[in-house]
């Protein structure tokens, strides 16, 4: 207890509002908490018809509690009773509401409707729908994300894309790092960039003007085993003689336009890139799409990880910035009830792992693993004493190799620092590069190729050991 009346801060408002909502729900009413864009809460109590509704005395007590406990964070209309005010269905039945506490036999449910400017996409996790292609197999989409930039994510995307293409797959790498495009040049080789990029599609599609854009280009690398490697760059080459105006376009891509939210528009753009590949000679959609997402808590990353991909590789170095950043993200997912949906598509990548005679990568990875588990456990379930840790129970032990927190290592390779690709076209074939990425490729490739619902026991390879 503080001596003076300390103001309620943002962090404290939500737990206080939820606690109060639970008290109201205990009286048998369903409760909806609505948080406005500046963070203030209103309590919407579904108390049915006028006759059996809440008493005036109860209502006064709730209103008083909310204003007292939430201070500046109580809304302009702290309490709304549905028996008094008829609310539009769009509010009470909005698909964006989250169930915070489920209803029981006696108590009502508590739900939360969070109105935000950005970042809301983090709190809803969906998988790309399987039937959007009329039942045909959909490309497997894997996101590559790093909370902090500069951890070698884009280079890894390039290495990974080549390996997958060498396995005979059609691979498309989409550069969603719109603010600092990069994967294009890494894979392009001696080819010319296509005229348009992801940003052009986002801008033109808002006006229904996207037909005919040239948004994908083949890599200069010729994969083995009849694979194909495609790039959808963030920034196209543009038309000669006309300024690209990249910054002006970028300023417009994140807007929610009439009839389409940013997340839907980004999904449509990814789809358009995939279909652009399908229109090429092979006439096939990509087998694998790698989404090189930008860093930080940004809507592009939120949409990419929460909605667009079916698997996400999270890059990080073993430092406090990385872990506190991921912790914030995971807490947002956990708080909005998304942990079970999201944790099965996440996997940690330990990038820039040092390995020297005096400090081995194993020592480094052990510390990394410890910190990763501490961070990921926000998303893990509790285990009863007789439950064995593992994917089935949604909770993993420290040494679980298949756990989301289990790091896939990429060795730090000073020889790659400051690389200028056009002057070193064969960089991926150098022995030191292959050594640095060996574990990463051997582990990540099967994980990416495993469908979420593939059945076990069907693949029986009878080769002699």
């Amino acid at each position: 207890m503080t001596l003076y009346d300390a103001p309620v801060r943002f962090d404290e408002a939500r737990p206080a509002a939820v606690a109060l909502a639970c008290e109201v729900a205990a009286a048998g009413f369903d409760v909806l908490l609505v948080r406005d864009v500046v963070g203030r809460f209103s309590l919407v109590v579904d108390d049915g018809e006028r006759d059996d509704g809440a008493s005036a005395e109860q209502a006064e007590r709730w209103r008083e509690s909310l204003t007292r406990r939430l201070g500046r964070y109580s809304g302009e209309r702290p309490l709304v009773l549905t028996s008094v005010t008829r609310l539009p269905k769009t509010l009470t039945a909005s698909p964006r509401t989250l169930e915070v506490v489920a209803a029981t036999g006696t108590a009502g449910a508590v739900r939360l409707l969070d109105n935000t400017v950005v970042g809301e996409e983090w709190s809803h996790v969906t998988a790309p729908s399987t039937d959007e292609n009329g039942g045909a197999s959909r490309p497997r989409r894997t996101a590559l994300y790093g909370f902090k930039g500069g951890v070698g994510r884009t280079t890894a995307a390039a290495v990974l894309a080549r390996r997958l293409a060498d396995e005979g797959l059609i691979v498309l790498v989409l550069d969603l790092d719109l603010e600092s495009p990069g994967v294009g040049p890494l894979l392009l080789g001696d080819r010319d960039l296509c005229t348009h990029g992801v940003v052009d599609h986002l801008v033109e599609s808002a006006l229904g003007n996207a037909d005919g854009l040239e948004i994908v280009v083949r890599s200069g690398y010729t994969p083995r085993n009849r694979g194909e490697l495609w790039i959808a760059p963030a920034r196209g080459a543009g038309t000669e003689g006309i300024p690209n105006a990249y910054v002006d376009k970028l300023n417009r891509v994140y807007a929610d336009t009439e009839g389409a939210r940013f997340s839907d528009r980004l999904a449509a753009t990814v789809r358009a890139c995939e279909e652009a590949v399908e229109r090429s000679d092979s006439g096939r959609l990509p087998d694998v799409v790698l989404l090189d997402s930008r860093a930080g808590i940004h809507d592009v990353a939120a949409v990419t990880i929460s909605h667009l991909c079916d698997y996400a590789l999270l890059f990080g170095a073993d430092n406090d910035q990385t872990w506190s950043g991921y912790r914030d993200l995971f807490e947002a997912w956990a708080a909005s009830g998304q942990a079970p949906a999201i944790r099965q598509k996440l996997r940690m990548v330990a990038s820039m792992v040092p390995d020297s005679v005096h400090y081995s990568k194993d020592t480094h990875l052990q510390s990394f693993r410890q910190n990763a588990l501490m961070t990921f456990s926000v998303l893990y379930d509790s285990l009863a004493p007789d439950e064995v840790a593992g994917a089935t129970e949604g909770s993993w032990d420290l040494d679980d190799d298949d756990a989301p927190h289990s790091p896939i290592p990429i060795l730090f390779e000073p020889g790659l620092v400051g690389m200028n690709v056009p002057r070193s076209p064969d960089w991926q074939e150098r022995a030191f590069v292959e050594a640095a990425y060996r574990d990463f490729l051997d582990t990540a490739v099967p994980l990416i190729l495993a469908g979420p619902a593939e059945d076990s026991g069907t693949e029986s390879e009878d080769d002699r050991p």
Binding site: S382, G390, G394, D400, D402, P452, D462
Partner: protein, 495 residues
């Protein structure tokens, strides 16, 4: 092309091969159960005086194998250590009741009677080397008295025996095992071990053909080094008995290939490359190098026996890696017994619950195997180190990770130090000296007790700090049977 085995045949072969392997300590090793991981080869070098190993990794197994002429011959052949064929091996200490050393009744009495540890070991050594005066009596007090009064003749005997052995090109080897049962008092036990190591070192560097081999837990070796710093000279050639993942699967395939039936024969034919070795009267087959050391080959073979994944697909993990990972203690060590137990249970559970499954081991049954292996492991450690049971049982029902301060509070509320002291006193006074046990080094210092449990592999730290807020965890192999839950959504440690 030979037909591989059906899933039913694999399952039956597993059950037959693994039957009874869980009681390895009470069943003497036999030629066909003797598996020799490459990493254990160094433990058999005559000059490897100290062999370190935790509970259940094979100290007693190797001690007994060295004492058995047939098994020694098998090891000499397979490991290609010819020197093992030219040994005279005598037990120097162990859990068998034999006349070669003072047993658990005689030894405390000797010490109470004023015998010094170095005199006792010298008497054991000279008895083994057939000092006539010592062979003339069976009373250890008389033998110790002779040693005390005859330092000169004793030295002469050692020199003579060494020279004779050199002439015959043999080595006298004394094997010491089960030293945790030497004495109930921690300090006395450590002093006994330190003096034994001093004698072992004198023989190692002072003779050419008299050697002692001492099987020890690493924590006991460390404690002895506190009393006898020169013992660290023995760590230079100290061998460690450890089991890597490849060793464990090699052990499994060895058992499958050494059953005496038609299925095992087909298994050998289909996997190929098995070497028949005649060891005494028994027949044993040595697995081909690929099945012993090549993880990729092992994994391919194991995935014919077990489900390829621990669920729907590879994102759920592969049993080949999943199983050992869930059997590890907090030091990353796995007892082969836990491993074989888990597989045995997995076969039984698949037979009972998934009889028509396409693989011999269903992934859910492998999970059940881990649960049962945990039960066996916990019984084992409670037998070996009873104070672990005292310390961990009060934590049942809690959820890991637990703050160190919280654990210590639980211990204080149960008055753990007092219980530990009572235990030590009870065992020391008991008229059943075979129950002689060891207690923790510092029953009153609870933070140090935490550290001892970490060293034992039972607890592990979950963060980099060491204070009352630092979080402690139990790996599944202990958590399951000790009845602790695991907490999801862990809040950061508060300081």
């Amino acid at each position: 092309m030979t037909e591989p085995l059906t899933s039913d045949e694999y399952r039956d072969l597993l059950s037959r091969a693994l039957e009874g392997t869980v009681d390895a300590d009470t069943r003497p090793p036999e030629p066909h159960t003797l598996y020799m991981p490459d990493a254990h080869r160094a433990a058999l070098y005559v000059d490897s005086t100290v062999v370190q190993g935790d509970r259940g990794v094979g100290k007693t197994f190797w001690a007994r194998s060295l004492l058995d002429a047939d098994l020694r011959a098998a090891a000499a052949l397979e490991y290609r250590i010819n020197r093992l064929n030219r040994l005279r091996v005598t037990p120097g200490y162990g859990m068998d009741i034999v006349p070669h050393y003072p047993g658990p009744l005689a030894l405390p009495a000797l010490l109470t009677g004023g015998a010094l540890p170095e005199e006792i070991w010298q008497a054991v050594l000279l008895t083994a080397l057939a000092q006539p005066e010592l062979r003339a009596t069976e009373d250890w007090a008389e033998r110790v008295a002779w040693v005390r009064a005859n330092a000169g003749p004793a030295e002469t005997t050692l020199a003579r025996v060494d020279a004779e052995a050199a002439a015959e090109d043999t080595v006298h080897l004394l094997v010491f095992d089960g030293l945790e049962h030497l004495h109930s008092d921690w300090d006395t036990r450590n002093r006994m071990i330190a003096e034994l190591l001093r004698l072992a070192m004198r023989m190692r560097f002072g003779t050419r053909n008299i050697r002692l081999k001492v099987f020890l837990r690493p924590d006991m070796f460390d404690a002895a080094k506190q009393l006898f710093p020169d013992a660290s000279k023995l760590s230079g050639n100290a061998a460690h008995l450890e089991w890597t993942r490849a060793d464990l699967y090699g052990l499994l395939f060895h058992h499958l290939g050494n059953e005496d039936d038609e299925a095992a024969e087909r298994f050998r034919r289909f996997t190929g490359g098995w070497q028949l070795a005649e060891a005494g009267t028994a027949v044993r087959y040595a697995a081909p190098p690929g099945l012993r050391n090549d993880e990729k080959a092992q994994q391919r073979l194991f995935e014919r026996v077990a489900d390829p994944f621990m669920g729907t697909n590879v994102r759920r993990g592969r049993p080949y890696a999943w199983l050992p990972n869930h059997l590890m203690d907090s030091n990353g060590r796995i007892s082969p017994r836990s491993f074989l137990k888990a597989l045995d249970v997995a076969a039984e559970t698949t037979r009972a619950s998934y009889p028509s499954h396409g693989r011999a081991l269903h992934h859910d049954a492998i999970r059940s195997g881990v649960r049962e292996a945990s039960a066996v492991r916990v019984v084992q450690i409670c037998e070996d180190v009873p104070w672990v049971e005292r310390a961990i049982t009060p934590l049942a029902g809690c959820q890991v990770p637990l703050a160190q301060g919280k654990i210590i509070n639980i211990w204080k509320n149960r008055d753990l130090p007092q219980l530990l002291r009572e235990d030590t006193a009870r065992y020391a006074q008991a008229d059943r000296p075979e129950l002689v046990r060891t207690g923790p080094r510092h029953p009153d210092d609870l933070p140090r007790l935490v550290q001892e449990l970490i060293d034992l592999g039972v607890l592990r730290r979950r963060d980099h700090n060491v204070d009352e807020y630092s979080l402690l965890d139990l790996p599944d192999i202990y958590r399951l049977a000790f009845g602790l839950g695991r907490l999801g959504g862990i809040p950061l440690a508060k300081r």
